[in-house]
């Protein structure tokens, strides 16, 4: 091989150059953020549905809420009724069985509560710390939901 030394040095230099971003960032992977609960949320103890369900499906829940509120004028959400419906509706049940853990599937709300379906008035009433509860995770996942284009964020104390 002619000029073998130069080629090998060149190859190593190229490799180092192309790998430099990975080397530079090695070991600094951001930890998945944990959503911070406000005092009010902690006190309430449970959300409108089970925690695993909310973690995986809150976007679906909000999407259903906005649709049913605006188009069908159904403004109240009952987790018990919802759980019953999900068991009856085989399609829906199969759909979310794949995504939701056993705990969520067997979830029965402690009380037969009914919630007013509203992001601004219900969700953000407890989770008034949007920057810690919503944004951190969304930023980590690289998603930018457009909820906040219209829906008013709670005022947070810095």
């Amino acid at each position: 091989m002619y000029d073998g030394g130069k080629i090998i040095v060149g190859l190593i230099a190229c490799l180092a150059f192309f790998l430099s971003p990975f080397i530079y960032d090695a070991g600094t992977a951001a930890k998945a953020p944990k959503p911070v609960l406000t005092e009010k949320a902690k006190e309430a103890g449970e959300c409108v549905n089970s925690t695993p369900y909310m973690k995986a499906w809150h976007m679906h829940l909000l999407d259903t809420w906005r649709h049913t509120v605006v188009r069908n004028d159904e403004r109240y959400y009952s987790p018990r009724r919802e759980a019953r419906m999900a068991r009856l509706d085989k399609n829906l049940f199969d759909q979310w069985r794949h995504f939701v853990s056993d705990g969520a599937r067997r979830y029965v709300p402690k009380e037969d509560k009914v919630y007013y379906k509203s992001l601004q008035e219900t969700c953000l009433d407890c989770h008034s710390n949007k920057s810690k509860f919503c944004d951190e995770c969304h930023n980590y996942m690289g998603v930018t939901p457009y909820c906040w284009d219209c829906h008013i964020q709670p005022e947070e104390k810095k």
Binding site: V70, D73, D149, I152
Partner: protein
């Protein structure tokens, strides 16, 4: 084969001879039935919301109060620029409110009177027919609702609405909190933190305060008007013969905007 070509032509010819076809045939053979089929009777329990504006009890200050109450309730910003104006409720003179019912020698008081206008929540809404995404649609109770999540901002509905009841968001409403001169016009935007704002590129209009109705309250403008003058704005269910709107319409002569267009407005004016 039931009817061959020869028979068909014979029947059609004879029917044609007597002018029996289409609507005319129905009118002769079964008078009244076609009309009845066109206007279905409301099933029991279904509401049909309507509003009566008693213009005799309305004055400029009261109208301004209604407008302010509505726009504060729904976070409607003031851009200080008629080209960008967003209006859910507004006032207009007789000449522009009722162009078909106007003539040169009209009563002097009426000529210079302003009327409180808003979406008519037509029973036969042209806006809903043209909306390509069904972002605007007619609810069972007659309210013409806007689904802001679905609106693509094509503005067909604005072209279709003969009453100018719809406004387009040319820019992001939140800029009233960022631009200096707009900040002065909207010092406390958003005025209602329980109601959302809109985003750039959607059409908005009066919804008869659907969210307030769901809580059992009357629309914001009705509440504001009746605080000052009882019965200036009457809101209620047209399907209920005992309701306030039905009573007002029974007792007084009322007019509607552009009835000749056949959109069947549900906003009535006592003049």
């Amino acid at each position: 084969m039931g009817v061959n070509r020869r028979d068909f032509l014979k029947i059609a010819g004879i029917a044609g001879l007597f002018g029996l076809s289409g609507r005319a045939a129905m009118d002769i053979l079964a008078p009244g039935e076609l009309e009845a089929a066109e206007k279905p009777v409301a099933p029991p329990g279904v509401k049909r919301w309507a509003m009566v504006v008693d213009s005799r009890k309305m004055d400029e200050a009261l109208m301004d109060k209604c407008i302010e109450a509505c726009h504060r309730e729904h976070n409607v910003p003031n851009y200080g620029n008629p080209k960008e104006e967003i209006k859910w409720v507004w006032k207009e003179d007789y000449h522009h409110s009722f162009p078909g019912q106007q003539h040169a020698f009209i009563e002097e008081d009426l000529k210079h009177k302003e009327f409180l206008l808003m979406c008519n929540h037509c029973s036969n809404p042209p806006c809903c027919r043209v909306c390509p995404t069904q972002a605007t649609f007619q609810r069972e109770d007659g309210i013409i609702m806007m689904d802001m999540h679905r609106c693509i901002g094509c503005r067909f509905c604005m072209a279709a609405c003969p009453f100018g009841a719809r406004s387009f968001n040319w820019g992001d409403p939140w800029r009233v909190t960022r631009v200096e001169e707009l900040k002065k016009l909207n010092p406390d935007f958003p005025t209602n933190r329980t109601y959302p704002t809109r985003s750039k590129g959607v059409v908005e209009k009066c919804t008869f305060c659907a969210s307030r109705l769901a809580r059992g309250e009357v629309p914001a403008c009705v509440e504001a008007a009746n605080e000052v003058t009882e019965g200036a704005l009457i809101f209620g269910d047209l399907n209920d013969p005992e309701s306030g709107v039905r009573e007002a319409l029974r007792k007084h002569y009322s007019i509607r905007r552009k009835p000749e267009l056949g959109t069947e407005p549900n906003l009535y004016f006592i003049v």
